[in-house]
């Protein structure tokens, strides 16, 4: 190993290795972008009703934490999983999606194994109740906002999500169990537009 380190700094070893490392350093963020773009392009669109709050992340700045209406209920396990389920908190499970009469996303059932098709997302298990029902946590729970607009978004969304006349939701593209947020809407207006229009 030490001999290897001596050789490492020779030109014919260092350069290819460094270029490889630099390429990987670029490829990892590159892949992250690619994955998100693929989801946005080919994913299935679902609308999730929300009520948010506003914290801060030292690396990524202000964001609005989204809590979803679909998360509020206990969801039954599918029949074949009911007997062999070992509950573990914060473990990944899969929730099957459908739309209610208003067109918002709801969870039908939870499975341990990855389902077929495109109508499911990977969620984290939260609580388990005696009647074999599970409460889950949806992972895409952050909407990053510009510093000066985060507070306005928070107050507006909070007030309007309590008011039944206003419809507050996020549009999410779902693909292979992973979701990417397209945008946050109040009455079909993108949130940033909505907040800007409020200003005199």
């Amino acid at each position: 190993m030490i001999n290897f380190l001596k050789k490492l700094y020779q030109k014919n070893v260092w350069l290819p290795l460094a270029l490889l490392v630099f390429a990987i350093q670029l490829l990892v963020p590159g892949y992250m972008i690619f994955e998100q773009q693929q989801t946005l392009k080919h994913g299935e669109l679902y609308k999730f009703k929300v009520r948010p709050i506003d914290p801060y992340d030292p690396f990524r700045g202000r964001y609005v934490v989204l809590s979803f209406e679909a998360e509020q209920n206990h969801i039954p396990l599918i029949d074949q999983d009911k007997d062999n389920y070992n509950y573990k908190r914060h473990a990944w499970v899969y929730a099957n999606l459908s739309r209610n009469e208003k067109g918002y996303a709801v969870f039908d059932s939870v499975t341990i194994k990855k389902p077929e098709g495109n109508n499911y997302i990977r969620v984290k298990s939260r609580f388990y109740s005696v009647n074999k029902k599970l409460r889950v946590h949806i992972p895409f729970d952050r909407y990053y906002a510009p510093e000066h607009k985060a507070l306005a978004i928070e107050t507006n969304v909070q007030r309007r999500s309590r008011n039944n006349d206003d419809e507050v939701y996020v549009a999410v593209k779902i693909r292979n169990g992973k979701g990417t947020i397209e945008d946050l809407f109040i009455n079909d207006t993108p949130i940033l537009e909505f907040v800007e229009n409020l200003r005199p």
């Binding site: 190993m1 380190l5 490492l8 670029l26 690396f59 990417t180």
Partner: protein, 488 residues
């Protein structure tokens, strides 16, 4: 009353030690000068000492104490240490400053991104997230080509690239509203940043990686401290080829980081280490102490230049003081629901590794270690009692508490004695602080019954006097001989 007697004894002891100190310095000096003619090898001293000697020699020859020839002879006998030469000194100091600057710039870029420039649109932000990374990487390539011998260039370009990785991942997360899984983010950062330390020989990146490992260990998950193993080859290489100021910095921080992350990853679950946290820490400190002695050499090269031994010594001092106090032996989790998984066996293995290191160092260097150094390492035996307690075959701690008090008393006395002999102020102070902390704690410790307290005090007092008498009897003889030889 008891306090008065002890303090008088203490002050008297100090006075005698001070006297002895002066005698010794003088005696040693005369002896050195007498022996000059018989030695042909040059002695290596630090630049600071050399400057002092230089000024004194000028003074002595002008006072007529020694002739010009003798002065030259003495000068020729000493050689200034090479690694602490002035050129390398300024080089790494500048390295630290430039690296700090790079770190601030990197942090600034992250905050600039965190501001969220929503007006720019997705493609512009995607481009922006790669820009700092590509620039920093280009800087690394330039450094390799033209400036690889400069510490400042290497540290700065590596540090910038390291920060740019985080900036890039963060901006993408922000643009696409990717959820905040901090653990995965830190792991990605670590994996992408680790090769930089090797490619650029950067101590700054090693320090930042250490911080990441400690951070990872707070996530209550897997034993992430194992990631320190990834640093070992580079560290060994630095040890042989690049032992400058930044090397000691990163080693100090890594030493603290390892102990901290081992304990952090253990306290969130039931492990053999979190059952007895203080004893485990004492064991780790002892292992560090021994490891430092065997790696950096038994010759005492100073506090700063042996991070492992110094951290270990501080740890032994602090944790033995805590363990000299009643309840601390049984602090920690109850043994209710231990999960015998991988992490459990790993932690158990760690205890045996620590014992292995300590035993190996003791066996290998026994005859070359001073008595106080042997005692400092033998205190690890106390961990055996923790294991016995875990096996429920040992119940009473009162003997252990008394033993721990006696250990601190004897060892600190021995340290003071040795420090006086070796003419080392820092060691002397360490011994004195350790001992006075013990005495202070015992006075304010109300948990021990008054009868036991009384006995303990008498024992401590007589131990103190006994050690002092033994010391003056044993160590007065060679000193007298030295002085006689000097007078001849």
């Amino acid at each position: 009353m008891a306090f008065n007697i002890i303090s008088t004894t203490f002050i008297e002891g100090l006075r005698r030690l001070a006297l002895k100190f002066c005698n010794l310095c003088y005696g040693r000096f005369i002896l050195t000068i007498i022996n000059l003619g018989y030695m042909d090898k040059q002695k290596i001293i630090s630049a600071e000492k050399s400057r002092w000697l230089q000024s004194e020699l000028t003074d002595w020859s002008s006072q007529g104490l020694i002739s010009q020839e003798q002065s030259e002879g003495i000068k020729a006998y000493y050689r200034v240490e090479q690694s602490q030469g002035k050129a390398s000194h300024t080089s790494w100091t500048m390295g630290i400053l430039v690296a700090l600057g790079a770190l601030l710039i990197g942090g600034g870029i992250i905050m600039l991104f965190a501001h969220n420039w929503e007006a720019l649109g997705k493609s512009a932000r995607t481009f922006l997230s790669f820009l700092p990374l590509v620039i920093a990487q280009a800087l690394c390539l330039y450094t390799y080509r033209k400036r690889f011998s400069s510490v400042a260039w290497r540290e700065a370009s590596a540090g910038l690239t390291f920060m740019a990785i985080a900036a890039s991942i963060s901006l993408i997360g922000q643009t696409y509203h990717i959820y905040g899984d901090l653990e995965r983010f830190v792991i990605t950062w670590f994996a992408l940043g680790l090769p930089l330390a090797y490619l650029m020989r950067s101590n700054l990146v090693l320090i930042l990686l250490t911080a990441l490992v400690v951070w990872l260990c707070t996530f209550q998950g897997d034993p992430y401290w194992l990631l320190f193993i990834a640093f070992v080859p580079l560290w060994i290489d630095f040890y042989h080829n690049q032992r400058n100021g930044t090397f000691y910095w990163s080693t100090w921080l890594a030493t603290f980081g390892i102990a901290l992350s081992i304990m952090l990853s253990a306290v969130y679950r039931d492990s053999p280490l979190s059952l007895y946290p203080i004893i485990s820490l004492l064991l780790i400190a002892t292992a560090f102490y021994g490891l430092g002695k065997s790696i950096f050499g038994l010759k005492e090269t100073g506090f700063w230049r042996n991070p492992l031994t110094s951290t270990g010594a501080i740890g032994i001092g602090v944790f033995s003081l805590i363990l000299s106090y009643g309840d601390s032996w049984s602090w920690g989790y109850d043994r209710l629901d231990l999960i015998y998984g991988f992490s459990f066996y790993l932690d158990a293995l760690l205890i045996f590794v620590a014992f292995g290191i300590i035993t190996w160092v003791l066996v290998r260097y026994w005859s070359r270690l001073y008595l106080y150094q042997r005692l400092l390492m033998l205190v690890s035996i106390s961990a055996v009692f923790a294991i016995l307690h875990f096996a429920q075959s040992f119940e009473s701690y009162i003997l252990l508490i008394i033993a721990m008090n006696l250990f601190i008393l004897c060892t600190s006395t021995l340290i003071i004695v040795r420090a006086v002999e070796l003419n080392r102020g820092l060691l002397l102070n360490a011994g004195l602080i350790w001992m006075s902390c013990l005495i202070l704690i015992r006075f304010f410790d109300s948990d021990i019954g008054i009868l036991i307290k009384a006995f303990a005090f008498i024992l401590i007092g007589s131990g103190f006097i006994g050690v002092n008498i033994w010391f003056s009897r044993k160590h007065n003889k060679p000193e007298v001989q030295n002085l006689e030889a000097a007078n001849d």
